[in-house]
């Protein structure tokens, strides 16, 4: 389908409801309205989507550094205490039987968060520059980022339940360490970034410019 043949709701002055999917027409001269079916507030595009997504994304990128440098778990035994970062946790898990899980944690905790930050930055930059190329690929990227994001929480749960179970003072005890907070922040902030990004912005470059403020 050629881009010019496609007609979007915004080009027709219509708003579609994110919640109940009803398409409706705002009152003359209005930019926003309420969905007559479900009552949700309607806009043509998510409000300040670029700014909000950038804000969450930059905050996530900042937290990403302490999340990986600071330890997430501290193990205390009779002989002393030892702190592990996320990457050290991956290495510790590597064994003849544990390597598949080690790979899962490596993937979920280190590769997904960084890939997510890079992918969202790419989507934001190309959409802001009005790129109309590779829309299908960018769309797939957006859906991938949306789908895999939650799995980064795995490490938070691993550390939670390891610490909850290994409370065998003075023999051995495990406690969460400061890096965990930053790691959890990265997961939450990238999820909020994906939530604030409006994928329709990817396609808007294909629409004629004069209808932007119908």
């Amino acid at each position: 389908m050629s881009p010019s043949a496609a007609i979007t709701a915004r080009e027709q002055g219509l708003q579609s409801c994110e919640v109940c999917t009803l398409v409706s027409r705002p009152m003359p001269g209005e930019e926003a309205g309420l969905c007559p079916r479900c009552g949700e507030e309607l806009v043509f595009r998510k409000e300040a989507s670029f700014q909000r997504t950038w804000a969450f994304l930059i905050a996530a990128a900042v937290c990403y550094i302490p999340a990986n440098v600071l330890p997430v778990l501290t193990t205390t035994t009779a002989t002393g205490s030892d702190s592990d970062t996320i990457l050290q946790g991956v290495v510790l898990l590597w064994s003849p039987t544990g390597w598949p899980l080690s790979l899962i944690v490596l993937f979920a905790s280190i590769m997904i968060p960084s890939a997510k930050i890079l992918a969202l930055a790419y989507l934001l930059i190309t959409a802001q520059r009005g790129s109309a190329k590779n829309n299908e690929q960018r769309m797939r990227m957006y859906r991938m980022v949306d789908f895999v994001g939650r799995w980064s929480m795995v490490d938070v749960f691993v550390d939670t339940f390891t610490a909850a179970l290994i409370q065998l003072q003075p023999l051995m005890s495990v406690a969460p360490a400061p890096g965990l907070l930053f790691f959890a922040a990265v997961v939450v902030l990238t999820m909020l970034a994906v939530e604030s990004f409006d994928p329709r912005l990817i396609w808007d470059a294909a629409s004629p410019k004069e209808v932007q403020h119908a």
Binding site: C20, A32, C35, R37, L93, E136, M153, L165
Partner: protein
């Protein structure tokens, strides 16, 4: 003139939808049960017509509610090491984090592993109960507006992967004893996915009482509106 936003005017053609991912305006076809419609431009699934949606979702939600209560009241994981034993529930994990000074992370785990799943099940139960009335009352619309949020933040399946990893880690030092809740939670993961797969929100939206009730005649007896 009002300061509050006003209600938009609906179109005469309720089959007209815009793709939520690319805004392409299109008409949804009539679909047989089990069939689905996708956006021709960006391939987003727009609607899947599910058979007997409300009844199936109701049965699955009741089962999920029962399992949720069991899963949160019995131990999930235990261990023994040189004669000492310990066990934890899901909430026990939250408590340990809180006591170790990680209050924010504790709150996040509490929310994603306990509160959001409870809301996800509870709201869905109310939605399917309300959806059996004709017309479907307004409060169902309110609940359905908030339900997607609980789904995003309910992370039982992620937690289960985390528990599995923790289990393998701990097995190096101690004998791990899987608790009843562990098995119940695995079933719950599949039930929550099954609820999602069986519930068809479009079917409920079509029968719901409109927010702008006074100006909106019953479905099937619509005012025709110019779409110019």
């Amino acid at each position: 003139m009002q300061n509050n936003p006003e209600y938009n005017r609906p179109l005469a053609d309720l089959a007209l939808v815009a793709c939520p991912h690319c805004d392409l305006l299109q008409r949804l076809p009539e679909l047989a049960s089990g069939a689905s419609a996708r956006c021709p431009r960006c391939n987003k699934e727009l609607w899947r017509h599910k058979q007997d949606s409300v009844n199936r979702a109701f049965a699955l939600t009741v089962a999920a509610g029962v399992l949720y209560v069991i899963a949160n009241s019995v131990p999930m994981l235990g261990l023994t090491i040189v004669g000492r034993a310990a066990s934890t529930t899901v909430f026990g994990g939250v408590e340990t984090l809180w006591q170790d000074g990680q209050e924010l992370v504790a709150a996040l785990v509490l929310f994603t592993a306990i509160i959001a799943p409870a809301l996800q099940i509870g709201l869905m139960l109310a939605i399917v109960l309300g959806a059996q009335r004709t017309p479907v009352p307004r409060w169902v619309a309110t609940l359905m507006r908030h339900h997607p949020m609980t789904r995003i933040w309910s992370m039982i399946e992620v937690m289960m992967l985390g528990v599995l990893v923790a289990l393998v880690k701990i097995a190096d030092y101690a004998t791990v004893i899987p608790g009843v809740a562990l098995f119940v939670l695995w079933v719950l993961v599949f039930l929550l996915a099954a609820i999602q797969a069986s519930f068809d929100p479009r079917e409920v939206w079509e029968r719901i009482e409109w927010a702008e009730g006074a100006a909106r005649p019953a479905v099937g007896d619509r005012v025709t509106e110019g779409t110019s």
